[in-house]
């Protein structure tokens, strides 16, 4: 009779079903779980316009002629560029870009026309404000094509020898402010990790702290329920929430942002489990440290910020100082980003992602262990 049970399924199910009912009733948390992915997707996904048009462009023409006019006409008729002005002054051009009034400056060097006709391959310079890299990429690519086509058209008739073979002129695109352009392909998959980190940590930290704050912990502790049952009972419902969020983000990524899903979605779902669990573990550990929901929230942000900044989500990981990389290597988000990008963009297989999977597993063990260790069985 005095059998000592460490884990009982019926108590575990009692916790799980209770959490589900509470989750359903708690509109605010529910709104947060749905709202956070939406807001983040909109902020990161749409703010980075997937196909930006009508980018303000200034002209700095040191030469004029049929070729130059053809190129400018082609730019005008494309939707990418809005020619907002022309200038001869170097300093003024600089200022336009610095102040962000134009996205591009097209520089045509003097003697461009003559050199082109002589087959000397003159260079055209397209300066780009790449602080917003996603805005630059498609337009710059479009420019290469339309400028070449425009010049080509001009060359037909008499000058066709020049039109064949190598392009008769060169286009240089100079990206300023952010030469190592991060694209939305990187950001939207990364967003999945960020959203999961944010909601999973906060939601679990709050779920346990709430029991203490509302006094229900006193009742719970007086029942036969064991710490592991409480912890797992709180984790499982939120794992499901995490998967719903993931599914949602993937759907949006594929349908709205047209991110190519190269790798196996099943592998992604499997590989996400340890990551979700690791974040839940962090939330649980926080909840054993926090005295009230406000503290739990603050701790969650304390974890969330370095995750976002040092994981390679915001800044290219290789560009960070050594110490920051070392901290980043500890965080589960860092490894998860590599996994998600690897699977979604490069079609990575299980073998490819294993090196990134075990650091997450180690983190998970430590977080859960700490949580269980810190879980207070008494009220003192």
């Amino acid at each position: 009779m005095a059998k000592f049970e460490w884990f009982s399924l019926h108590r575990f199910f009692a916790m799980v079903s209770k959490e589900f009912v509470q989750m359903r009733r708690d509109r605010l948390t529910f709104a947060m779980m749905v709202g956070i992915p939406i807001i983040q997707l909109v902020l990161f996904g749409f703010a980075i316009n997937s196909d930006p048009r009508h980018l303000p462009t200034a002209l700095r023409l040191a030469d004029d002629g049929p070729f130059v006019r053809a190129i400018i006409a082609a730019m005008r008729s494309s939707e990418y560029f809005d020619i907002v002005g022309a200038t001869q002054d170097e300093a003024e051009t600089q200022q336009l870009v610095d102040h962000g009034r134009v996205q591009f400056v097209l520089n045509i060097p003097s003697d461009f026309e003559r050199q082109l006709l002589r087959g000397e391959r003159p260079a055209l310079l397209l300066e780009a404000d790449a602080a917003d890299p996603a805005a630059v990429g498609p337009a710059a690519n479009a420019f290469r094509i339309l400028a070449a086509a425009a010049v080509d058209r001009e060359l037909r008739g008499g000058l066709s020898p020049l039109a064949s073979g190598v392009s008769p002129f060169e286009i240089r695109v100079q990206q300023r402010f952010n030469p190592e352009a991060v694209t939305r392909y990187n950001i939207v998959p990364g967003l999945m990790g960020v959203v999961l980190t944010m909601t999973m940590v906060i939601v679990t930290a709050l779920a346990v702290t709430r029991e203490r704050e509302r006094g229900t912990m006193e009742n719970l502790l007086a029942t036969p329920v064991r710490p592991l049952e409480v912890m797992l009972g709180k984790l499982v419902p939120y794992v499901l929430v995490g998967y719903v969020q993931m599914f949602f983000i993937l759907l949006v990524a594929a349908l709205l942002f047209r991110i190519p899903l190269v790798g196996s979605p099943v592998l992604l779902l499997l590989a996400s489990l340890p990551f979700i669990a690791a974040n839940l573990g962090v939330g649980l550990t926080f909840s054993t440290l926090a005295r009230n929901q406000l503290q739990a929230m603050q701790m969650s942000f304390f974890f969330f910020l370095p995750s976002m900044i040092l994981s390679g989500f915001m800044f290219p990981f290789r560009g960070m100082p050594y110490w920051a990389q070392r901290i980043g290597e500890i965080l589960p988000l860092t490894h998860y980003l590599r996994i998600v990008r690897g699977i979604l963009l490069k079609g990575n297989t299980l073998c490819d992602i294993l090196p990134h999977l075990w650091p997450i597993l180690v983190f998970l063990m430590v977080a859960l262990g700490l949580g269980l260790l810190r879980y207070r069985r008494t009220l003192d």
């Binding site: 209770k18 006193e218 009742n219 069985r377």
Partner: protein, 305 residues
């Protein structure tokens, strides 16, 4: 320590940040007894009850609950007791039925659906079954909490002020239930601030500032203080009280209801001092001291520690 006792604690002590809250408390509660726990606010009642069910670790002393050690075997104690916390500690965002279902699952209650329905009926909670617990009135919340305690048919009930905020009719029913359970052999430790409830308990303990000042049946407690008491009724009682205070043999003057209770340990001296007043405008009567007088006396004697 008596082996048959349901609760037996020996010099149990608990301090919070250096302040001793329960001081070397020893007592025993016998099977089937309704044991009342009294004492002013902050005297350590809640702290003591929490130690019994393993919610707080005692600093020193030992205790057994249903034969299990309270410090090392709380896992065995928990399934066998029903604890009702002073503060409402069920889920306000679950309905009455859901709360009961949840507790039923945690305790592994057999034939859960029927037990829940029966418990709802017994405490007349059935009309509120689908209502969220947070929207119940205070008294009904207390009933729900009691229902959750009773669901798994524990052998021992630890009830911390279960009737606070409950109307008189419901309190009567509640006590009828406790007596019922008592005849079935269920032991109850109940803390309360109500004197009428104290009088209903089989035995009592009076706590003040963590010290056990007295324990026993209501009659024993009255007797042990050796108080004699007179009651005066009439008008201008506060004026009378002021005059009586300084008389020899008068140790305590308390207004209770519409009467003034005057008491002291030396009955003869008290009667002598009061005799001139007995011919005055007030109606006087000697009576056995009420529990309330006894408790106030005990508290004052302990120097309001």
């Amino acid at each position: 320590m008596n082996a048959s006792a349901v609760i037996s604690v020996d010099r149990l002590t608990k301090a919070f940040v250096g302040k001793v809250v329960v001081n070397a408390l020893s007592l025993e509660v016998q099977p089937g007894e309704i044991f009342g726990f009294l004492g002013p606010n902050g005297s350590g009642k809640t702290t003591f009850i929490r130690m019994l069910c393993g919610l707080l670790r005692p600093d020193s002393g030992s205790g057994r609950c249903l034969g299990f050690d309270i410090s090392s075997e709380s896992a065995q104690i928990r399934p066998r007791i029903g604890y009702m916390a002073q503060r409402f500690s069920l889920y306000e965002d679950l309905s009455v039925r859901e709360n009961l279902q949840f507790m039923g699952r945690l305790y592994g209650v057999a034939d859960r659906q029927n037990r829940v329905a029966a418990t709802l009926n017994r405490l007349r909670l059935t009309p509120y079954a689908e209502q969220l617990a947070g929207t119940l009135s205070g008294g009904w919340k207390q009933r729900l909490a009691l229902a959750c305690c009773l669901l798994h048919e524990p052998r021992l009930l630890l009830l911390d002020e279960p009737t606070a905020g409950v109307d008189p009719q419901a309190r009567l029913e509640f006590w009828a239930d406790l007596y019922d359970l008592s005849t079935q052999g269920v032991t109850t430790l109940v803390s309360t601030h109500y004197m009428d409830e104290a009088e209903r308990c089989h035995r009592l303990a009076y706590l003040s500032a963590g010290y056990l000042l007295a324990s026993g049946t209501a009659a024993e407690m009255v007797q042990s203080t050796g108080l004699s008491s007179w009651a005066a009724s009439g008008s201008d009682l506060s004026q009378l009280a002021a005059e009586l205070h300084t008389l020899p043999g008068v140790e305590q003057v308390v207004p209770l209801g519409s009467t003034l209770h005057v008491s002291g340990r030396d009955g003869q001296l008290l009667a002598q001092s009061l005799s001139p007043f007995r011919n005055g405008p007030h109606h006087w009567e000697e009576h056995s001291p009420t529990l309330e007088e006894v408790f106030i006396f005990l508290m004052r004697q302990s120097g309001g520690r």
